[in-house]
């Protein structure tokens, strides 16, 4: 096990990236509201992302992206822009919603342009979730009359780099009913991490939805999905790998429910926690000197805690009991 972490540490020692998390919280819209382009901006910027909205005032309709803080987890209406669990990632207020029968684009700006997107959290909206579950006059309930139809609702993510759309893609099933055992069929109903590092460097990402429920008029499944906490990398920066004790300290270790992290620097630090496989499980910008980080939902095992400032970074192992 130590070998693996040594490898990971070695990797970070040579390829250190600053990361930015786009969480859309900069839009002050209160609880259970949205920005769909009818008022306010037509391009939403958060972190190093920009998301375009196409609002037609004559038609009072929009496509592209919206910012939502919806909390309605029951109403199956197209105007309900709430996720199925009624919050953003990690109980945050805001998240972004995509709606398009074609594709939506996420532009990477500033230091993130031309760099790799680490990943993001994805969730279903209430309307899509409920229609997939129960059907409506126009859309089928997944599984069909018998429950055996091998239906799916798929988000496909590709990238544009230098004006070219990639052939490789990352696929994420927002609902998957293809299992032989129907008990395994599922509809995503919580924020779920989607790793996008396989796409590599990108100028923008293109999102398309597809479903097994299609007619001559296109897809019958509501063409919605939500994203939050998109982690972009800001290119290689000259950061120095330093001794952990000079940057931060934390306790207890091993920990079971939480640990307290003390920031020894005067500036804001980026805290990232990776699991054994190198998957990012926590990512946040810390401003306080001392912060309590909840790890209740972590599986038992060994994690790597990484702290990074603009000029230096350090890492240390954490045991979750």
């Amino acid at each position: 096990m130590n070998k693996i972490f040594t490898l990971i540490l070695t990797f970070f020692a040579f390829h250190s990236f600053a990361q930015t998390t786009s969480d859309f919280e900069e839009y002050v819209i209160g609880v259970d509201s949205f920005l769909n382009g009818s008022v306010g901006p037509s391009i939403f910027s958060s972190g190093n992302l920009s998301l375009e909205n196409d609002y037609n005032p004559a038609w009072m309709a929009w496509t592209g992206w919206a910012i939502s803080s919806g909390t309605d987890v029951t109403t199956t209406e197209f105007s309900n822009l709430s996720t199925i669990n009624g919050t953003g990632y990690d109980d945050s207020n805001n998240y972004a919603v995509s709606f398009s029968s074609d594709q939506t684009i996420m532009h990477l700006d500033n230091d993130a342009a031309g760099e790799t997107v680490t990943g993001m959290y994805v969730n279903n909206l209430t309307v899509a979730h409920n229609i997939i579950k129960d059907g409506n006059m126009f859309s089928k309930k997944f599984g069909g009359v018998t429950g055996d139809d091998e239906d799916y609702f798929l988000l496909t993510i590709k990238k544009y780099l230098g004006g070219t759309l990639s052939s490789e893609s990352v696929e994420f099933y927002l609902a998957d009913y293809r299992f032989t055992d129907n008990a395994q069929d599922y509809i995503v109903n919580e924020w779920t991490w989607v790793d996008l590092t396989d796409l590599g460097q990108a100028d923008s990402l293109a999102f398309t939805l597809s479903s097994t429920d299609n007619g001559n008029y296109g897809m019958n499944t509501p063409a919605y999905f939500a994203i939050d906490n998109v982690v972009t990398s800001d290119g290689v920066v000259a950061v120095e790998n330093v001794d952990a004790t000079s940057l931060f300290e934390f306790y207890p270790n091993p920990a079971s429910e939480f640990f307290v992290l003390k920031n020894l620097e005067k500036e804001n630090v980026q805290v990232s926690i990776f699991d054994m496989t190198g998957r990012l499980v926590y990512d946040n910008m810390l401003t306080n000197d001392q912060t309590e980080i909840n790890i209740q939902h972590f599986s038992k095992g060994t994690y790597m805690v990484k702290i990074q400032t603009t000029t230096k970074f350090a890492s240390q192992l954490l045991i979750k009991q």
Binding site: N56, A58, W59, M60, A61, T63, T75, T76, E77, S100, S101, D102, K133, D134, G135, N136, M137, K140, K141, G144, V145, T146, D148, D213, N214, G215, N216, Y217, G218
Partner: protein
């Protein structure tokens, strides 16, 4: 007088004969005279007609069922008690014009009419005329025209007709009709109530339990009142009034867990009709007032969709005939519609006007009819539509018919004004159609054989579809495609009387190719692709046996494979049977009947995801009391 009446009754009993002989009948005062006659018996095309007596002996409960079972017309039914629209000769629902006493029943908002809302007993005569006749009837008369006509019988002193039907799935139907009058004034009142649970169980898959249909309750009430008044020898005034309430739940599709949707339809329809007969002239003035609501609710999604329209139509026409060899008809019509709908930003209004002329010529062997109509919609001229039809009797057993016509359908108010996507400047769909038929009839002893073959060809241009505008994801209405329809309709019938048994057999087959002629991405259409929900092959057969007071009928239909929204719709065959016993007294008649529908318990669908019921039953009694003037027997 009595002679005339007897002749008239004889004619009424044989409506087909009446058809052929109408021109001679016109001189008999008791026969309804109308300036519209020339429009109601078009030359060069087929007409199927059902009178009250015939309608009383059929298992069908509404027009949709009548057309499916009796004429083999393809009815797109969403299930028992649910929406039903027609596709005649490969046209869309909006390409069948439905007339009530000469005025269109089509909703100007949707451009179609739900045929399941039309009770069978509401009119004394129902006819179906296939083929285009926009030159005579205007917008929508492309695939065919269904006409419901309320007619007076000035020989009735009083009558009562009570019909009760109880059926499977909680279906109950009560009809009460009564009337009275004399040779100058007649009043006819009709009250109908119909309700049903429609909680039938339908097949899901092998080894799966059947699923029970839910949220499918329907309830419908109709009140109809007709007044007929012969003011003097020359003038007649008629008032038709129809109030309709329909309340129904919208059942879930077979891939929907449940539905909480329901729909209310309400209609008030009034027509005032004045006729003046003066020698060889007939003048006619009509005014119609139609006010209808269609309110749709879905409690599951808090959806409330309310819509209503009001149409005021006036029509003035005149007919002149010279010794029955030449007839001239001229008419002018104007209608004004206002509508409200959640989809409209401002309630739109629509003005439709038209002038039309028709010329009819008849010799011993020929009939010829030439018509032309010029319409105007909101001040904009629409294509002028001419038509030319002929009948040629080669011999008593052989007849040829043919017709060439241009036809159109104006865009609906939703196509024009719906926000998002309505397009106010849409053109009407229009195009030419041609048809030709050959009829032959042979009588050998007590057997009679009839054979007919009709071929038709029709092109409709500027066909309206909703599609995404270029570079946009929002759908709008466009005059975007062309549809080419053509087909063959052979028919064969056989009648024989064997002692006390009367046998009648009728069969037909429809071959219809109705193909899209413009390739599109969305909605997905290929050139040469058959329109969805239009089966290429359809066949039907019907046998009727009457022995003394007992009647038996069996009707079988085959509907070939068609393409739907999501894939192929499999072919199916269904059968319906009826047995009835009738008893006549001096002035009374009663009919007891038993219907078995879908006798072979076929699992089928007409519209995808909309299950149809299996075998179901109806039992009922129809009691008729009638007292004629001049003591004429029934």
């Amino acid at each position: 007088m009595i002679k005339n009446i007897t002749l008239l009754l004889g004619l009424l009993a044989f409506p087909l004969f009446l058809l052929g002989q109408l021109d001679t009948v016109i001189t008999i005062p008791e026969v309804e005279i109308s300036a519209e006659k020339i429009r109601k018996q078009p030359v060069g095309t087929q007409l199927e007609k059902w009178d009250s007596e015939k309608l009383n002996s059929l298992p069908a409960q509404n027009i949709a069922e009548l057309l499916t079972t009796e004429s083999g017309t393809f009815i797109k039914s969403y299930g028992s008690g649910s929406l039903a629209t027609s596709s005649i000769r490969g046209g869309s629902a909006g390409h069948t014009l439905v007339l009530w006493n000469g005025f269109s029943l089509q909703s100007p908002i949707l451009g179609l009419l739900d045929l399941s809302l039309l009770p069978l007993s509401g009119s004394e005569e129902i006819s179906l005329q296939k083929g285009g006749s926009s030159a005579l009837w205007g917008s929508g008369a492309i695939g065919g025209v269904i006409a419901l006509n309320n007619k007076s019988d000035f020989n009735t002193k009083k009558f009562t007709n009570v019909k009760t039907t109880i059926g499977s799935f909680g279906n109950f139907n009560q009809e009460v009709k009564f009337g009275f009058g004399n040779s100058r004034v007649q009043s006819v009142t009709k009250l109908f109530h119909q309700q049903g649970e429609n909680n039938f169980k339908y097949f899901v898959a092998p080894n799966f339990p059947k699923r029970e249909q839910t949220n499918a309750q329907v309830s419908q009430q109709n009140i109809l009142q007709d007044f007929y008044w012969k003011i003097d020898k020359k003038n007649q005034l008629t008032l038709h009034f129809w109030q309709q309430y329909s309340d129904r739940n919208i059942p879930p599709t077979n891939v929907q867990t449940k539905s909480e949707a329901h729909q209310n339809d309400q209609a008030t329809r009034i027509i005032l009709d004045w006729k003046n007969v003066n020698g060889s002239y007939v003048l006619q003035g009509k005014v119609g007032f139609f006010k209808e609501h269609l309110d749709y609710y879905d409690d599951a999604t808090n959806l409330v969709s309310l819509s209503d329209f009001t149409t005021l139509t006036s029509e003035f026409s005149g007919q002149n005939f010279f010794k029955n060899t030449h007839k001239l008809f001229a008419g002018i019509t104007h209608s004004f519609t206002t509508a409200n709908n959640d989809g409209y930003v401002n309630p739109p209004t629509e003005n439709r006007s038209a002038v039309q002329f028709s010329y009819f010529f008849q010799q011993k062997k020929y009939k010829l009819q030439a018509s032309v109509r010029q319409g105007l919609i909101d001040g904009k001229l629409i294509p002028i539509v001419p038509s030319l039809g002929f009948d040629y009797t080669i011999s008593p057993s052989l007849k040829l018919q043919g017709k060439v016509s241009r036809n159109y359908r104006v865009p609906t108010l939703n196509d024009r004004f719906w926000q998002v996507g309505g397009n106010e400047n849409l053109n009407p769909e229009s195009g030419w159609s041609q048809e030709a038929s050959i009829f032959s009839q042979v009588t050998v002893g007590k057997s009679s054989f009839e054979f007919s073959l009709t071929g038709f060809n029709r092109n409709i241009d500027q066909w309206i579809l909703w599609a995404p505008a270029e570079g946009q994801s929002i759908w709008s209405a466009f005059n975007i495609t062309k549809v080419w329809s053509r087909g063959l309709e052979p028919r064969f019938s056989f009648s024989q009387k064997i002692e006390t048994i009367q046998l009648h057999f009728f069969t037909g087959y429809d071959f219809i190719k109705s193909t899209n002629q413009v390739a599109m991405d969305l909605p997905k259409r290929e050139i040469g692709q058959q329109l969805i929900y239009v089966p290429t092959h359809q066949a039907f057969g019907r046998v009727n046996l009457v022995w003394k007071n007992v009647g038996f009928s069996y009707q079988h239909s085959f509907v070939g494979k068609s393409e739907g929204q999501y894939g192929d719709i499999e072919s199916y065959q269904t059968g319906n049977a009826r047995i009835q016993y009738s008893q006549n007294w001096k002035t009374c008649k009663s009919i007891v009947f038993f219907n078995i529908n879908n006798i072979w318990n076929t699992n089928y669908i007409v519209v995808e995801r909309r299950p149809m019921p299996g075998t179901n039953y109806q039992i009922g009694i129809n009691f008729l009391f009638q007292k004629q003037l001049n003591h004429v027997k029934l």
